[in-house]
Structure formats: C-alpha cells, structure tokens
C-alpha cells in the first residue's frame, strides 16, 4: 500500500494520532491514525463493528478517547464538546438520521447556523435591529442551503413528514448551514435507492468543486466508495488494516479477508458487491 496520493504539499485538514477508544473491556478503536487532506473525499470502510462510527463520534466530540489526539487545521480538538467542534468547522450527519422531527425543514437548517450567530438573551427578547439582521441572515443562509439540496418546496413542512431520501439530504443541508470546512457523513447513502444514491454522489462531487470543503465519509455501498473517493481507509476490529486509492483497496487481500471473514472458506461472497 504505497501512498500515491498527490499529497505532497497539500494542506492537511484533519489528523488523528494513536486514537484509542475503550468501552468497558472492549477496544472499539485502537491506535488509529488518519490523515485527511484539504479538498479530498476520504471514505472510511470496513465490516460492521469495525469502529468507524466510533471514530466519527470521537472526532465530533461525542466520545472522549482514552488515548490519542485529534487535530483539526492545526488545533488540537481532542475531548472538546460537540458544539465547540462545530464552531471549529466540523459538521456531521448520522447513520440513523437525527433530524428535529417536529420542526420545519427550514428550521432544521436554521439550527445549523446557530453557532455562526451570536444574539444573546437581551437582544433576542428586545428584538434589536442587530438581532433582526442576524435572523434575516440565518434565514437567508438556510433558504440558500435548502434550495441547494432541492427541498425548497418543503421548507415549511415538518421534517418528520418528508420522504426518507429527502430527510438524508436535509440533514446534509443542516450540516452545511454551519459553514464547515470538514463534512463528516455517516453512511449517507444508507437506505437510498440507486437513483437517489447517484444524485447524492453527484451532489457531493459538486460540493467539493464549488465550496471550500473536505468530506470524510463512512460507506458500505461500494459504488459510492469507488465512484467519488479520492482515498480509502479500511478498518477492522478497531484498527486500520489498509489504505490507498480506491482501486488498490478493492483488490487488496487483507481487505477482502476482513469482509469475508478469515475462516469462511467456500462461503458465499458476503462482501461488498460492486457493479462497475
């Protein structure tokens, strides 16, 4: 596995060093090193239970690691609270979609702008001109993002009432509303049909092109991994077992073994299915 990314002098956005997370007796993540470069799409893959979401949870502040560091754009953000990490510029979505179900789609996205505004108690109660200007701006940003994911027609609809695929995009729009530099997506294509998946892939590629963004994602769908990733990192049982260009990873023996299971000779192919 040679590193043949044109990494050279490209800026590093996120680094994790020796990241270790232990639950009870279980080492969910073990000495995990990751480097994410600016402007790239990096996919984190691996069988279920490999520790991928745990890595995300540590990076985004939901868990504190037992050992190791997370450094984002030069700042050590290890152990910081989730909202602080959002302020620094990392935004995420969840595997099981965590929207605010009884708020409208637009309000969901406006929530993303929370950390970029600053109206306090008194200005909010008195509705000062400054506060109203900020409200307008928040609304404008939200309207722009909702249009960007093509959900403008649902802006006053409650988030729980829109279709599953739309909810996924809504969650991404909410993440984008916080003006992140790094977008962390946990299985964004999960539950989407092929067309929706393709739309998602196109959307993410456009995003990278037009905005100052880096994307880190967990994926099980190999179409997506192969289709849009610049770099792939493979985890199994809490450790990194391989990383490289998508095609190299696809053919890597250790990776195939991880997905198929070491003792399972002659079992049906249970690994990821790729339609090229």
């Amino acid at each position: 596995m040679e590193r043949s990314r044109s990494s050279g002098d490209r800026e590093v956005v996120l680094v994790t060093k020796d990241l270790t997370k232990i639950f009870g007796g279980l080492k969910a993540v073990s000495d995990f090193d990751l480097v994410v470069h600016k402007g790239e799409i990096l996919s984190l893959i691996g069988p279920n239970g490999a520790g991928k979401t745990t890595v995300f949870n540590v990076v985004t502040g939901i868990y504190k690691p037992e050992h190791g560091d997370v450094i984002f754009r030069g700042t050590n953000i290890t152990g910081k609270k989730p909202h602080q990490i959002v302020s620094h510029g990392i935004a995420r979505t969840f595997q099981n979609i965590r929207l605010f179900p009884d708020m409208t789609c637009l309000e969901n996205i406006m929530a993303g702008q929370h950390c970029r505004a600053s109206s306090g108690l008194f200005t909010s109660v008195l509705r000062t001109p400054g506060m109203r200007k900020e409200e307008r701006r928040t609304r404008e940003v939200a309207e722009r993002r909702i249009a960007q994911v093509d959900l403008a027609r649902f802006k006053d609809e409650l988030a729980k009432n829109i279709a599953y695929g739309s909810q996924r995009m809504l969650e991404i729009a909410r993440a984008l509303a916080s003006e992140p530099r790094l977008l962390v997506l946990d299985e964004p294509s999960s539950g989407l049909n092929p067309k929706e998946t393709q739309d998602l892939m196109d959307f993410l590629k456009r995003l990278i092109l037009h905005e100052d963004l880096t994307i880190l994602l967990i994926e099980h769908d190999m179409n997506v991994v192969m289709g849009i990733s610049d770099w792939v990192v493979v985890m199994d049982e809490g450790k990194k077992i391989a990383e490289g260009l998508p095609l190299d990873i696809y053919n890597d023996e250790a990776v195939i073994e991880a997905y198929l299971g070491k003792d399972d000779e002659g079992d049906e192919h249970v690994g990821p299915v790729v339609h090229w």
């Binding site: 979401t53 949870n57 939901i62 969840f94």
Partner: protein, 303 residues
C-alpha cells in the same frame, strides 16, 4: 453504639416499607417507563383497608384464632383488594394513554392519584385514623446491645420473605425473565412470543399488593394513618427507586433499605427536623457522581 444499632434497626424497618413500595414503582417504570404517581395511593388505600378489616373484623378473628390471624387477614384482604384496584387503574387511566407518550401518561397518573386520594378521603374521612393497639404483643427483645421489638422482627421477616420471593420470581423463573425482557425491549420481547398483557397483569397486581402490605405494616408500626401519607411515602420510595437505579428491582430493594437507614441515622445524628433534607441531599449527590443510581441502569445507548 447502642443508639447506632437501634437506629440501624429502625432504619431497616422503615427501609423495608420503602423497599416494598419502591418495588411497585420500579416494576411499572421498568416495563412502561411510567412514573406511577398513583402507587403511593395504592399504599395508602391498603393501609386503610387493613384498618377497616382490623377495626371491624379483627375482634372476632382475634377471639377465635389469636392475634396473628388479625394481622394476616388484614394484610391478605388489603393486598387482594389492591390487586383489583391496581388492574382497574391500569385499564382505565393508563392503557388508553400509552399511545400518547410519556408526558401525557404522567399527567394521567397524577390525575389517577388525585382521584384515588380523594376517594380514600370520601370513604374514610379526612381525619387521622388509628390502628388498634396490641395487635401483636408488645414485646421487646435484647440481643446483646441490640434492642428490637417483636413487631419490628415480624416486619423485617415478612418484608424479607416477600422481597426474596419477588427476587426469586424475577431472576430465576421463566416468567420473571419475560418481565425483564419486556422491561428491556418491549417490541422484541413480544416478537419472541412474550405475552405483554400477562406482564402488565403481573406488575399491576404484585406491585399494588406489595404496596398494600407495606401500608398495613405502616399502620401497625405508626398506628396513625392519614389519606395524604401516600405522597410522603411515595416520594421517598420513588427516591429509593432512583437511588437503586431505575428499572433495577434488586436495586429498588436495596435503595429502599439504604434510604430508611440514612433517614434514621440522619434523624439521630443530625437533626430530626432536617432528616428529609439530608435524605434528598444524599440522593442528589449520588446522582451527580453516579448518574444512573447506585446499582446502575442496564440500558446502553447507541449513538
């Protein structure tokens, strides 16, 4: 030293009351995630029914069969009556509200509590009632430094027996496993063939029955009962439930005992007036440092 031991015994005695009541809260909470505010009133009602049995029936029974029968019949009648009341309350006040969620269920539980409390007041009157004295011969025993009355021994023995029985049922029988499974994950439990209605039947008969038993014992111990005592005992018992870890039955038992002991020690060594404050402060401290209670809650969260 003698004071300490005495207070320990007193503490375990009241602790048994709290424990028996706490079991009812814990069972309902474990399975339904509902704080059964009416439970304190089940306890009160049990106490009053026991009172009625003793005042109007025990004389005859005692003459015929001896004083123990008086007490036992009071407990049995009270417990049995409360199983019916418990089921009624579940059917009328809680079942229709399940689909609405947890907070409406709390309001409904409060409504049921108001209803029961006032029913008790209407039937038995707003004034204190007194349990007959000398139901159990007033005998004091001395074991070395320990001073204990016969009544306390009976209370402790009976409570211990009931708690052990419940523990055995919950932890060692198949049905008990069904109850625990339902508490953990209702949907999967029903998919596994567990009859949810049976579980409800179990918790809404046994819980109130245990509470009623505690009520009769409280009547015998303190002699004076009032229709508002459900609030006080109920609140402390619920505190014990939380102390032990919600949904954790053995935890509720220990929580109750610990609470009783703490209360009595607080009353003796700090001040009788501030004992309740002391108890609540302990609770708050425990929750700050062990947010899921002393014995922990079993539910893990996946993010």
């Amino acid at each position: 030293m003698q004071l300490l031991l005495e207070q320990l015994i007193n503490g375990l005695t009241i602790g048994s009351f709290y424990a028996l009541i706490a079991l009812g809260y814990s069972m309902v909470y474990g399975v339904l995630k509902l704080i059964n505010f009416a439970h304190g009133d089940f306890f009160t009602m049990g106490s009053y029914i026991g009172y009625t049995v003793l005042v109007f029936g025990a004389a005859a029974l005692t003459v015929q069969f001896g004083p123990w029968i008086g007490m036992l019949s009071a407990i049995c009648v009270a417990a049995l009556s409360l199983t019916i009341v418990g089921l009624l309350v579940e059917r009328v006040a809680y079942r229709p509200v399940y689909p609405a969620g947890r907070l409406p269920a709390v309001v409904s539980a409060l409504g049921a509590s108001i209803f029961l409390q006032n029913t008790i007041m209407l039937i038995w009157g707003p004034r204190y009632q007194a349990y007959p004295a000398e139901l159990i011969p007033v005998v004091r025993f001395q074991f070395g430094q320990i001073n204990i009355t016969l009544l306390q021994i009976i209370i402790l023995a009976l409570s211990f027996f009931l708690m052990s029985a419940l523990y055995y049922i919950i932890q060692r029988t198949t049905f008990g496993a069904a109850v625990r499974a339902t508490a953990h994950d209702r949907n999967t439990a029903s998919l596994m063939g567990i009859n949810f209605n049976r579980v409800i039947l179990f918790i809404f008969t046994l819980g109130p029955a245990l509470g009623a038993t505690a009520g009769v014992m409280v009547g015998m111990y303190y002699r004076q009962i009032s229709f508002t005592m459900g609030w006080n005992f109920g609140l402390k018992a619920f505190t014990a439930t939380i102390l032990g870890g919600i949904g954790n039955l053995p935890g509720a038992m220990f929580g109750g005992l610990i609470l009783g002991v703490l209360e009595m020690l607080g009353a003796a060594y700090i001040s009788a007036a501030w004992k309740d404050v002391f108890v609540f402060l302990i609770l708050i401290l425990v929750l700050i440092f062990r947010p899921t209670g002393l014995f922990g809650e079993k539910i893990a969260e996946k993010v």
